[in-house]
Structure formats: structure tokens, C-alpha cells
Symmetry: C2
Subunit: 323 residues, 2 copies
């Protein structure tokens, strides 16, 4: 098999899994692999594993593989994309001020670009997904943490010290619940995965749910956002209420973005976004309530189009953006 | 007198006063005038008055006046800077979809650029004031309303429908007081001029203040932020408390900007900023409390350097920016 120079490798390093894909110029995935990140807790071991996987994915294409355009990597942490340094990673220990770009470029003899994972998702959705055609796009990633990526006038905006987009820690209620960051009332403390489970458990103290009992095997310790999604789709009123609450608070958080940045589009990504309209309806209601009319009318709230592939596709796009 | 081609006219249209200045390439004010806006309630009357003032300010420089670089105007409302249209103005009635740029260019035979007043202040502070040397600058204007201007990577960011920067209507407490916009708990409902007076009056119900009694002539209906500033500087504990409360809420509002945009600098402008350190200390305390560490460490909170001239200087800068 032969490879165009305009093909890229995109890598999505997650706390749980790392995905690697060979991606065409048109953002089609030509081949892919993945491995559990936690098996490579040591920094050197993880870098070696990534190098191995790159060689493996390129093997069928040799000798044309040397013509590949470059490698892009998204990582969950604070990253200097211009110097290619990983300052720190969330839930992956041992990474502090790692010059990952330089390390990989020396070993691979290919251009390597790295950036924060949600920035990379935002770039992917902007170029090939749900943000296509807009100039000012915000990606909001819902999961254990709530992250954000910002495209301003068609370019990723990273801020003064590479931490722009920390949507999850916008405070929406000073008397709110304690957040994982130690503060109180952050958006994440209302709509992060743990918050969703907490909200459901609070409701289960007052009210029962046959469907959730069945799904969790009678033990609510097994409760997940996925079960709450399934239950709501089967008409479970308690689960529907949970999504209404979560959506309402998400809408409040998004209203800060809408009032401040007046974006064209907000792309909702991540596992929880699978709740779809269960979430979107209350989001739009509270977004309308808490946003000024002019920016509210200008913004489209949409779900990710690239789904689980947003990370690898977005990462591969870093190459053409020059990082 | 002779004028360089690189001189500009800057106009700052306010709901109360309109200021006009002739400004050098180096942003020095060569001459200035102003008039009360409210005497020209009618749109045509106001435009005529502005034209008259332009002719008057240029008269001493004729015939070189025709060599002037252009005219920039900041107005308090929603403005399409690229087409030069005023969609609406706040507290100046009768302005709806006015092609002000075209109207003035036809009459003056000079390039005219218009933009929102806080955008213009932000541009001025970025180029010649307290934002100089930073790449990502937010201007926050404190007064009856709370406005914001955003410089991203050295350029004004206006958003998808020209309304970016509506910092005053970020909701910081869903159970908060009613805001002028009709919503509840907006930042403006905590730190706008009316909110400052309301906070003081609430405190005056429980506690007395000799200094404020003296300053207001015994009638608290005369209370203004200026009196609260004077009283606090004279050691009045109630007035000091008011600024602590206001600063605390302002810090909460700014934390949304810091977490989301990771700016280099936030420039606090407008009348209330005269409270200086009375305000800055509680702002920094609550900003630190509600911001993530990385963006908190990156941001400098400073006061306007151009003061009351920020509007005219910033407006004149529009000309070289091409609007």
C-alpha cells in the first residue's frame, strides 16, 4: 500500500485509553488502533508504547510511510503547543514539563504537534464536524471533567498561559456543591459525571425508579450516566428529571460563554452528550433565560459530529495548522 | 497651523456627553470639545451637531485639515463595525439601523469608522494605555452598565453578531437581585452603579454613617458611588464594606473571564474604578478564590491609564485598524 504525503497520524491520549489513527487529507480514518493508557503509567513506557504503535500502524505502508505529513497528539492537560511541552497531565501521573514534541521528532524524523485534548476536539469539529462553516466555535466536552476549546476567527485560541477554555470551573453558584478542584459551585460540580450521579442519588432518596433498579442490578452504586440515559429513554421520570436538572445548569454555564463570546456555534461533545434531546431541551431553555437576546439568536447549539473520533481527527489537523 | 495626514479625529458618544478630539499619530490630544448628548435627542440633530463639531475642531488647521487620516467614533450600543451600521443605542433613542459610516463619509469626504464604545476603550488601552504590551486584553467598564471589550491576539474580537463582551450580564447567582435587563443575578445587578447604591442603602438601614450623612446633606437619596468613594477614603467603615462587597462580586465576575479566556490583562475602566485599591483588594481576593491557579497567575488586573480620554483615543485608533 502507498501513502500520500498528505496523510497524517492523529493520537488521542486519554486517561483511560489512547487511540491512534492514520488519517487521510480528507479526514478519513485509514486505519486505527488503541491501548489502555493506565498499563503505561511510567512516562517513558507510555512514550515507547506510542512510538511502537506509530511504527505498527505505518508498517503496511512502507516505504511510502516516510512521506507522511506529520503527527498530531491531543493530551489531557496543560500544554505549550508552540514549544511542544507537556506541563502536566490530568489523571496520568509522572508528566511534568516533558518536551514531548522534541522527543518524538528525534525518534521519528517527522514533524510532531501537540495540544490539549479539548482544543484538538474543537479543531476537529470546526474543520470537519459540527462546527464546520462557523468562524467562532466553542467545544464543550462533558465527562468526568468539563472542558472547553475555543476557535476565534478560525483559529484555536489558547490564552496567555495555554489554559483558555476552562469552562468547567466557571462558578455558577457560590453556595453550590464542592467541585473536584476544591472550589464550590463550579459548572463541573453540577454537570460533571459525579454530579450527575449525585443528583440522581439525591432524587432516589425521595422517589424510586423501577427501571434504574433493574439496570443497576438493584445496587445504585453501579449507577452511571449511561444508565440514566437508557432509563430516561424508557420513560423513567426520575432519570428524565436528572437530565432536566443537568441541562438547566449546563445552559446557565453556556450562557456565560454566549454573553461573553457571542459565538456562532457551541459543539457539545463527550460521553454525556449521548443524552441528546433529553439534555438539549433544558439546555436551550435555560440558555435562553440567561443569555442576552442578540447573542442567543446568533448561536447554534449542536452535538459533536465526529463523536469518539473527534480526538484523533482533530489531533491530525494540528499538523496542517502548524501546531 | 498645519496637520499631519496621520492625525485623526476621535469621537466618544455617550448617553450624557459626547466628546470630540483631534488626536496625533502618537495618541496625543491636540484639541478637544464636548457637548451634552441629550440636547440632540433626534438622530438627525445629533449627526448635524457631530458634523458641526468636526468642522469646528478642524477649522484652525485648514487647508491641511483635508489631509487628516480619518475619523473614529465609539457609540454605546450594538454596532456592525464592518458595514458601519448602528443597530441600536442604549439610552439614546431614535437610532435603529443607521448607516452612520456612509452618512458621515458622504458629508466629510474622509474615512469614518465606528464601533461599540467599550470595544473602542479596550482598543485604546491596548494600544496606548494599561493594556500595552499584552496580547489578550479584556477591558471591563464599570458604571450604570457593566460593559466589556475583548482583544484576542492583538485584535478586537466582536463575536458572531457584534455583541461579544457582555460581561455585565453573566449570571453569578440565580437567586440574585433583578437586573436592568430583566434577568436575575447578573454581574451588573451586583456591581453596577444602582447596585452599589442599593448595597449602601441596605447597610444604612442597619448601621449609620456620619460621613455619608454629611456628604449627602442628610438625604441618602443623594448617595452616589463618588460619595461612597470619598467616605471610604475618610475611613467610613460602612462605605469600606460597600466596596468590599462590590469588589468581591466583581472578582467573581472576572473569574469567569479568567477561567474562560486566560487573558494577560484585565483593564478596569469607568467612573467606579476611581475607588482604586478599595475595590482592587477585594477583587483580587475573590478572583483568586474563584479562578484556577494557572490563569490566575497569568493575569494582571490594572486600572485604566487613559481615563476619561480612553473613548476618544480608542476611537481614533479605529482608523488605523481599518475599523
Amino acid at each position: 500500500m502507498s501513502l500520500e504525503k498528505t496523510s497524517f497520524i492523529g493520537i488521542d491520549v486519554g486517561a483511560t485509553n489512547t487511540k491512534i489513527a492514520l488519517i487521510s487529507k480528507q479526514a478519513f480514518i485509514l486505519s486505527r488502533s488503541n491501548f489502555p493508557t493506565k498499563f503505561y503509567q511510567d512516562k517513558i513506557a507510555l512514550i515507547k508504547k506510542i512510538l511502537n504503535e506509530i511504527h505498527k500502524i505505518l508498517k503496511p505502508y512502507k516505504p511510502s510511510a516516510k512521506h507522511i505529513g506529520g503527527i498530531g497528539i491531543g493530551l489531557p492537560g496543560l500544554i505549550d503547543h508552540s514549544k511542544g511541552i507537556v506541563f502536566s497531565l490530568t489523571n496520568i501521573p509522572g508528566w511534568k514539563d516533558v518536551p514531548l514534541k522534541r522527543i518524538l521528532e528525534r525518534r521519528l524524523n517527522l514533524p510532531v504537534f501537540i495540544d490539549n485534548d479539548v482544543n484538538v476536539i474543537c479543531l476537529g469539529e470546526y474543520l470537519y464536524g459540527a462546527g464546520k462553516g462557523s468562524r467562532n466555535v466553542i467545544a464543550v466536552s462533558l465527562g468526568t471533567g468539563i472542558g472547553g476549546g475555543i476557535i476565534i476567527n478560525g483559529s484555536l485560541y489558547r490564552g496567555a498561559s495555554f489554559s483558555a477554555g476552562e469552562i468547567g470551573h466557571i462558578m455558577i453558584n457560590e453556595n453550590g456543591p464542592r467541585c473536584g478542584c476544591g472550589r464550590f459551585g463550579c459548572l463541573e460540580s453540577y454537570v460533571g459525571n459525579y454530579a450527575i450521579i449525585r443528583t440522581a442519588k439525591e432524587k432516589l432518596k425521595k422517589k424510586t425508579s423501577k427501571i434504574l433498579k433493574e439496570l443497576t442490578g438493584g445496587n445504585f452504586k453501579n449507577l452511571t450516566p449511561e444508565y440514566l440515559n437508557l432509563a430516561a429513554r424508557r420513560g423513567d421520570s426520575l432519570a428524565i428529571e436528572v437530565w432536566e436538572d443537568v441541562g438547566r445548569y449546563l445552559g446557565i454555564g453556556l450562557s456565560a460563554i454566549v454573553n461573553l463570546l457571542n459565538p456562532d456555534r457551541i459543539v457539545i461533545c463527550g460521553g454525556v452528550s449521548k443524552a441528546g434531546n433529553l439534555l438539549l431541551k433544558p439546555v436551550l431553555e435555560s440558555l435562553k433565560e440567561y443569555s442576552l437576546d442578540v447573542p442567543f439568536r446568533a448561536v447554534g447549539i449542536v452535538f459533536s459530529k465526529l463523536g469518539d473520533d473527534a480526538g484523533v481527527i482533530g489531533a491530525s489537523c494540528l499538523v496542517n495548522q502548524g501546531g
